[in-house]
């Protein structure tokens, strides 16, 4: 499935992600990592730690609705994979980010911005693994 190259939109979106990461550090002194936010929310930690995570998650989920309100269009979500692949992929992502202590936001944005060697290694590892997986699925197996 072809997608259109959107450098300016993607750059603006990225800048907003960076702004959110900066503001979370300024207000709560926390790294903006989707992994940490979600796993803290679904685990049985102290309740007060779940409140800010829930507020953050509700804000995140409101994002597409805000875009709909302003532009009159929902953000595009095209899913070129089967339901089974969503489940297998979701399980692998959940297990992987828990052991790896982070994902694209925590390691990829915040960790790289902090010049953390751990995050550099994590990002390099998952970028290579993702590219290899896409290559094998699309060009070797032909899904």
């Amino acid at each position: 499935m072809e997608t259109i190259f959107t450098p300016w939109q993607s750059l603006a979106g990225g800048a907003l992600i960076g702004l959110a990461a900066t503001l979370l550090m300024l207000s709560l002194g926390r790294i903006f990592g989707a992994t940490g936010i979600l796993s803290g929310l679904v685990s049985l930690g102290p309740a007060q730690d779940r409140v800010w995570r829930l507020a953050l998650l509700l804000g995140m989920v409101s994002g597409p609705l805000a875009v709909l309100l302003v532009t009159g269009q929902m953000p595009t979500v095209q899913v070129p994979v089967s339901a089974l692949m969503l489940v297998i992929g979701g399980l692998a992502v959940g297990v992987g980010v828990t052991y790896g202590s982070g994902c694209t936001s925590g390691h990829g944005v915040c960790g790289i911005a902090r010049q953390s060697p751990r995050s550099f290694i994590a990002v390099l590892t998952f970028m290579i693994a993702t590219a290899a997986t896409v290559y094998i699925l699309r060009h070797v197996i032909g899904v």
């Binding site: 072809e2 997608t3 959107t6 939109q9 993607s10 750059l11 603006a12 979106g13 990225g14 800048a15 907003l16 992600i17 960076g18 959110a20 990461a21 900066t22 207000s27 709560l28 002194g29 926390r30 936010i37 796993s39 800010w52 507020a55 509700l58 804000g59 995140m60 994002g63 597409p64 805000a66 953000p75 979500v77 095209q78 899913v79 994979v81 297998i88 992929g89 979701g90 399980l91 692998a92 959940g94 297990v95 992987g96 828990t98 052991y99 790896g100 202590s101 694209t104 936001s105 390691h107 990829g108 944005v109 994590a122 693994a129 590219a131 997986t133 896409v134 290559y135 699925l137 699309r138």
Partner: protein, 144 residues
């Protein structure tokens, strides 16, 4: 005040993810498909996010403490070990299969699409599974 600002920060992130293309698996997978329908957009997302965060953190971390908390909670673990590399590799495999990462999928829940819900449910199951395995492994290590 604290919760309202936290909500708004989540909203900024959610809007950023929405317009950047990170919530769109077709676009994410094409970024990694150099041999096929390559779409380099995601490099601009990462570039924009890292540059703004890099500058933002330098400004913010000159403060003694954050606005609504006693201190900054920065990661202190500096070990480069097997869980970091193995976990990251497994995350990459999952991202390559489904096209959603955690930060892309959570805002995408707001579109109400069943595919996103299915992915997030499986991801939460994966988090629980890993936490369980870690607690069992931790207990076994403690015993031996």
């Amino acid at each position: 005040m604290r919760l309202l600002s936290t909500y708004l920060i989540g909203l900024i992130f959610g809007v950023g993810i929405s317009i950047s293309g990170m919530a769109n698996p077709a676009k994410v997978l094409n970024f990694f498909d150099f041999a096929g329908t390559w779409d380099p957009s995601l490099a601009f997302v990462m570039g924009g996010a890292v540059v703004v965060t890099f500058i933002g953190y330098r400004l913010v971390l000159t403060r003694n403490r954050p606005v609504f908390d006693e201190g900054f909670a920065l990661p202190t673990n500096r070990k480069i070990d097997l869980p970091l590399i193995g976990g990251s590799a497994l995350f990459g495999v999952g991202w390559g299969i489904a096209g959603f990462c955690p930060g892309g999928s959570l805002p995408a829940l707001g579109t109400g699409r069943w595919e996103v819900l299915l992915f997030v449910a499986a991801m939460v199951a994966g988090i629980w599974l890993a936490k369980f395995l870690q607690s069992v492994g931790g207990a076994a290590t403690a015993k031996s």
